[in-house]
């Protein structure tokens, strides 16, 4: 068991690189435009100069603030933040936008802002032109529409001389292996996973398959799971923290079912659980009072209460005595015949009608005064009449322990009933719950009965249905509450530590309270790759898709493909992936057949490295296969020169015009 402290790393804003026109003249500018990260830099650099998340933070205007026009003009609009400029990503989570829809760029205004960011930070300062040939990635089987927009942006807005579009996983393969060879390329991306059969230096386009599951799904899955597991920490469980956990503590189980069986064991759980410490502020806990202090405090409180009561009684006594005096006065005036008017007035004053009533009132007042006096005396002498507390004894012949246990059970059943009712109440209050729907169903059935055939009410049980649909019957019954109190009383008498024990259980240090248990989650997220059904996605998992793709080939080619399985893409960094794939392949492939699985040297950077290799070692091919501005103007934006590293180009058919009708 270990307690992990989150690092909560912050990004460092990128510097603006110096632009040296002499050194960089004619150099390829390489952009690996991934849906998770963008990596960009010149081909003569060792590694990409810029690596940032492909995110744009578009600040929103504060709608609550109403500003005058002048103020708006004075204030510069809040700057759009891009990539590593977004230092505190969680604060801006809801304002983040990306140019990607799945793995395809669809939002070209955001892409333009990203390009601005890249070129600015590379220090490009040529006027009206980015004078570098570009090599960049695009999605596998990128729609022509998207390519045409990208070309439009690059050629018209930045006036680039040439562009080469390639596929990220093929570049990575180019860096790690012979691009003329044969391989089954498995590319694990942020939104999608591709299985690409690659034979003799050519991708077999129609047999490529894409699983729409990637790192993004794994992250959101774990994120949501943790939030549901710890609803009290919802806001503390941020996506960036989950990302950190995912990168450092998640892996792929070799045998998922077997691992789950292990996790079900308490011992295994205790030794393998990872506890994640969320940051928290130490609340200044109230100083613990000792038992004696507590008693002292209680005494003090009761003394004060007694004082207040005594004062109240005194006040009431005076009041009552005053009233008595006044009443007696009236009584006297009755005897005096001259004062009959005064007597009448006095009666009215007390809302009385006759002499008899007056006498009654006087008697009642006297008894009240007597009572108050008696009470005051009792309080002074400290003798409080105490009702003798009768604690029920266990019935004869039953062990006290057994009896108590029975009582405890009774108490628990009552508590459970209460809980169930409470849940039902909550459920009924909401619309889309099973309970509420059942209620609506009964109501509509009651209302929908046909006339004439209705024999409702002929049996007494029929009327129970109204109890069922009533919202009121769920209030906790008075009888039960009393019974519960009674049981509590008895239990407390016999077992004064009852509550203390429970308290002890509930007591957690604030640090423990802020700990997340990261158990099966460490393998659960990545398992989505093999079982998308866990998230309700009905697509086949990775091994099933590999099997499917392989079966599209002849036995000979199948063997050639599995002899060189190449894995690349950021998710490939998850530990255990290779071993798991080997195991899955063992199940798929014929008995005692061979296969080999190879991992990219650096799964996330090798795409950029491959592009660099392509630009520097095979410059003539790169030159030949790039689309020039001239060709863009001639063939249109979607035009693509095919190459072993690029997509296939299927020219869009000219939109058929329906001439036959004319």
């Amino acid at each position: 068991m270990e307690v992990l402290v989150l690092k909560d790393l912050k990004t460092v804003p990128d510097i603006v690189h110096e632009y040296n026109p002499k050194e960089l003249k004619g150099q390829y500018l390489i952009i690996d435009n991934g849906s998770f990260q963008c990596r960009a830099g010149f081909a003569n650099k060792k590694q990409p100069q810029l690596i940032f998340k492909n995110l744009v933070c578009k600040p929103r205007k504060d709608r609550n603030k109403k500003e005058t026009k002048e103020e708006i003009q004075q204030q510069a609009p809040p700057a759009t933040l891009i990539g590593n400029d977004i230092v505190n990503i969680e604060a801006l989570r809801f304002q983040l936008r990306t140019q990607f829809d799945k793995n395809v760029v669809t939002h070209y205004f955001l892409q333009e802002q990203i390009f601005d960011y890249i070129f600015t930070h590379l220090g490009i300062n040529t006027e009206g032109k980015v004078n570098h040939p570009i090599i960049m990635t695009e999605a596998l089987v990128n729609p022509n529409y998207c390519r045409s927009l990208m070309s439009e942006l690059l050629f018209e807005c930045y006036q680039v001389p040439t562009v080469f579009y390639g596929i990220d996983s093929l570049f990575s393969f180019n860096f790690n292996d012979d691009i003329k060879g044969t391989a089954l390329i498995v590319s694990l991306g942020y939104y999608t996973t591709h299985v690409i059969p690659f034979i003799d230096g050519q991708q077999v386009t129609d047999k490529i398959r894409r699983i729409n599951v990637g790192g993004f799904h794994m992250l959101t899955y774990i994120h949501r799971l943790m939030q549901l597991k710890y609803p009290m920490h919802v806001n503390n469980i941020t996506l960036s923290r989950i990302e950190e956990l995912f990168h450092e503590h998640c892996f792929i189980a070799n045998d998922y079912i077997d691992s789950l069986k292990k996790w079900a064991c308490h011992d295994y759980y205790d030794t393998h659980i990872k506890k994640i410490q969320l940051p928290y502020t130490q609340a200044s806990a109230p100083t613990q009072l000792t038992a004696e202090q507590k008693i002292e405090k209680k005494k003090e409180m009761s003394r004060r209460l007694a004082e207040i009561n005594a004062r109240k009684r005194e006040e009431r006594l005076i009041e009552e005595e005053d009233q008595l005096a006044r009443l007696e006065e009236i009584l006297e005036s009755y005897d005096d015949e001259e004062d009959s008017e005064e007597f009448e007035m006095g009666l009215k004053e007390f809302n009385l009608n006759s002499y008899e009533e007056l006498e009654k009132t006087i008697a009642a007042t006297r008894t009240r005064i007597d009572k108050i006096k008696a009470k005051m005396q009792a309080a002074e002498t400290g003798v409080i009449e105490e009702k003798p507390v009768v604690i029920p004894q266990p019935p004869d012949g039953v062990n006290v322990e057994v009896w108590l246990n029975q009582l405890r059970e009774k108490k628990n059943t009552i508590l459970e009933k209460k809980q169930v009712r409470k849940q039902r109440r909550i459920d009924l209050a909401k619309r889309r719950t099973a309970a509420a729907q059942e209620r609506m169903r009964i109501i509509s059935r009651l209302a929908g009965k046909e006339k004439g055939t209705d024999d409702f009410g002929s049996r007494d049980e029929d009327w129970n249905i109204y109890k069922k649909i009533s919202r009121e019957q769920d209030s906790d019954s008075e009888v039960e509450n009393e019974k519960l109190l009674e049981l509590d009383e008895i239990l407390r008498h016999y077992d004064p530590m009852m509550n203390a024990e429970e308290d002890e259980k509930m007591k957690m240090t604030p640090a423990e309270y802020h700990q997340l248990h990261f158990a099966v989650e460490s393998i659960r997220g990545a398992e989505l790759l093999f079982q998308p059904s866990m998230m309700g996605i009905c697509e086949a998992g990775l091994s099933e898709t590999i099997d499917y793709v392989l079966k599209l080939f002849s036995a000979e080619n199948q063997q050639r493909l599995v002899d060189n399985i190449f894995i690349t893409g950021g998710i490939a960094k998850l530990p255990g992936l290779k071993e798991r794939l080997m195991k899955e392949l063992m199940e798929i492939r014929p008995f005692q057949s061979t296969f080999s699985v190879k991992l990219a040297n650096d799964p996330s950077l090798d795409c950029w490295n491959g592009m660099k290799k392509f630009a520097t070692t095979t410059e003539n091919i790169a030159n030949k296969c790039s689309i020039s501005q001239q060709e863009y103007l001639e063939f249109g934006g979607e035009y693509l020169k095919e190459n072993c590293l690029s997509n296939r180009y299927f020219k869009s058919p000219i939109e058929r015009q329906d001439n036959s009708m004319m």
Binding site: T106, R209, A264, Q419, E539
Partner: protein, 109 residues
């Protein structure tokens, strides 16, 4: 207005101001399919989707992720053992809904 970077073409400077609606990938896929028709040999974005899974989905406990042999009849939550069932019974309905949505098991009502 933010200052235009120097490397941008001057003629394009105004176009960036205009608001433009960008098609979503779904819309692009639909128009692509319509454009090429059904019998086209072209490989489109939508034609390389993975096949549906032929295996029955395995059931895992919604809370712990362990193998789930049981399903709560009221809430439809999968659970591993009686201990978990105790929690399931007391689970507030928003958490139940969250788990079901995550698993893609919410019925549309």
């Amino acid at each position: 207005m933010q200052e235009m970077p120097i490397f941008k073409s001057k003629t394009m400077q105004e176009s960036g101001v205009k608001k433009r609606l960008w098609k979503s990938l779904k819309q692009i896929q639909t128009s692509e399919r319509n454009l090429y028709g059904l019998n086209s040999e072209a490989v489109l974005y939508s034609s390389i989707n993975a096949p549906p899974s032929f295996k029955p989905p395995k059931k895992y406990s919604d809370m712990s992720g362990l193998i789930a042999s049981y399903c709560c009849p009221q809430s439809k939550i999968f659970y591993h053992n009686s201990e978990e069932y105790k929690i399931v019974k007391k689970m507030p309905s928003d958490i139940v809904k969250g788990y079901l949505t995550l698993r893609g098991a919410t019925s549309l009502v």
